[in-house]
């Protein structure tokens, strides 16, 4: 327990001290000076004169002391008064003109004093408010909780209570307020009064509600869109499934029976008929490749990019291993630079290299000695990879068609192909937020570049 040491005890002591010192000093002085004079002066009339003179001097000296003492005390008092006036001025300003509603309430939470902001916020007049208790302003939904907390205040269990809550104005309108209630206790711990401060935060709360509502709406819309997208994706999957399954099957049958016809009845068929059968077989093979490539293209479109750090040198080795059967009888001079690590989807970037190297090999097959080089350059944001060949190249006039689906710059009789490979490359690099472009000249070769952002 904290013991209070009331101020007036200290003061009384000080006053006693001064009076006591004065009393003792005065008596001692009178006894001492009278004794001294008695001893020194034997003439009675002279003694009386000296005693009068000594008394006068004593009064003058003590008056000067008294003056100094009182003056100092008064000065202190004036300073304290000035400070009080200033603080009262500040408080009044806040009280009268401030945006916060302030009220002093008693033990029953009746209003003793309210400031203008308070009754403006609540929509009552001052006199009306004085007839009410604070509890009557609270929103019924939170009344139980609030009453409990207020009880704790008046019981002296807690000294302040802060919350954001709803109040009901006189006109029935619901407002939001930030409430701070602080209780003041007497020296012996008894509740004296509460200072209630309310800030009107209705607009802020409304804005928050609005944001919440908008967020919920947005979330709903996103969910809706996502489910629509998922449906579309599923449809696409079903579509590509049936393309791959249902279109391939009859194609396989045509090819199968044409081959059987050609094999089993070879000797009965005229040469022309055999040629026709071979043409049909070739056409079905080509269509088979086309379907497979298209499916690959649509799969690439749907596939999510799974980023990892990729050792491009290892990836190139893997791709070269894969195209080995196609270059068995070819003379190719490979120049492969050491490549930096890249950040991207392994299986997708493998498709990119496979397509580019496949093309380089394909379009150099008429050269006596094919030259294919692989390398890279980098700047702060990107790494650029390239594949250069000395093959047939192409006219840059048609470069804009290079990466379109089914677009080809060479006839099928010159170079076979479906026109999907580079479209696929384009799509994959786009998914990586990179770029792909080419530089070429007819019959001197082509260089294909693609860039990937650094991690």
């Amino acid at each position: 327990m904290k013991t209070h040491k009331p101020n007036f005890l200290k003061n009384i002591k000080f006053e006693y001290k001064i009076t006591l010192i004065y009393l003792i000093f005065g008596i001692l002085w009178i006894l001492f000076s009278d004794g001294l004079l008695d001893f020194l002066i034997k003439d009675d009339s002279l003694l009386t004169k000296f005693q009068t003179f000594k008394g006068t001097i004593f009064i003058i000296v003590t008056s000067v002391f008294l003056y100094i003492l009182v003056r100092k005390h008064m000065q202190n008092l004036r300073i304290a008064e000035l400070q009080l006036i200033e603080s009262k001025f500040r408080f009044d300003k806040l009280h009268e003109k401030g945006p916060f509603g302030m009220a002093i309430t008693d033990k029953e939470f009746r209003f003793e004093k309210v400031n203008p902001a308070f009754y403006t916020i609540m929509g009552y007049t001052e006199t009306e408010l004085r007839k009410l208790t604070f509890k009557e302003l609270l929103h019924p939904d939170e009344l139980k909780k609030d009453v409990l907390n207020i009880q704790k205040l008046t019981d002296g269990i807690v000294t302040d209570y802060k919350t954001e809550k709803r109040f009901i104005r006189k006109d029935g309108q619901i407002i939001w307020g930030a409430l701070t209630a602080t209780s003041t206790l007497s020296n012996d711990g008894q509740f004296q009064f509460s200072l209630v401060i309310i800030e009107d935060i209705t607009e802020r709360k409304q804005a928050e509600e609005e944001i919440k509502k908008l967020n919920a709406e947005l979330e709903f819309k996103v969910k809706l869109r996502t489910s629509q997208l998922e449906t579309t994706n599923k449809e696409l999957e079903a579509f590509s499934y049936s393309v791959s399954h249902d279109l391939r099957a009859p194609l396989r049958h045509i090819n199968g029976y044409v081959n059987l016809l050609n094999e089993r009845f070879h000797n009965d068929l005229p040469e022309k008929a055999i040629h026709y059968l071979e043409t049909i077989a070739n056409a079905t093979n080509q269509m088979g490749t086309l379907i497979d490539d298209l499916l690959q293209f649509s799969r690439t479109g749907r596939q999510e990019v799974q980023h990892t750090t990729i050792d491009m040198n290892g990836l190139i080795k893997e791709v070269l291993e894969q195209i080995k059967p196609d270059i068995e009888n070819r003379k190719i001079n490979w120049t492969i630079q050491e490549l930096p690590e890249a950040y991207g989807d392994y299986s997708l970037l493998k498709q990119v290299w496979l397509n580019l190297l496949d093309n380089a090999v394909k379009y150099t097959r008429n050269e006596k000695l094919a030259e294919i080089s692989i390398g890279s350059t980098e700047n702060q944001e990107n790494i650029q990879f390239f594949v250069r060949d000395n093959g047939v190249g192409f006219d840059m006039k048609y470069a804009n068609k290079l990466f379109g689906v089914f677009q080809r710059l060479h006839s099928h009789s010159e170079f076979e192909g479906t026109g999907i490979g580079l479209a696929n490359v384009h799509r994959i690099i786009q998914k990586h937020h990179g770029q792909v472009w080419a530089d070429a000249k007819p019959s001197t070769g082509a260089t294909f570049f693609f860039s990937l952002p650094k991690k």
Binding site: S244, R248, R252
Partner: protein
Amino acid sequence: MFELKTILLVEDNPQDVELTIEALKENNLSNHVVAVGDGVEAMEYLNYEGKFKNRVKSNPIVMLLDIKMPRMDGIEVLEAIRKNEKLKTIPIVMLTSSREEPDLKKCYALGVNAYVVKPVNFQDFMVAVKQIGIFWAMLNELPLE
């Protein structure tokens, strides 16, 4: 000569059945092929039900299973066989038109022995079917039933 058991071909498309049998003919395996039209028939065959009530009691040496079929598809058949104590050791090769990643994953999760996509080109198709036939019907060893 050693005794050869049956190869069960589960395929709804008669052209595919014919072409597969043609391919197996070249290894003299075609006489051992039993072809059924869908998953329900395949299960009837394996469980000696319906028109297969009186067949010789013996599991096929390998099953060639198409995926997309009416009534009961290949993946359902695979699942049913792997759950069945008497049938679960039968080697199963999926022989299907398309390479769909979800199908592949599902089949391997269910314990398929191989997954082969039928090539469009007939020569390639012949090679594929022949190799399946030679491996599973001639080279592979199975535990006694």
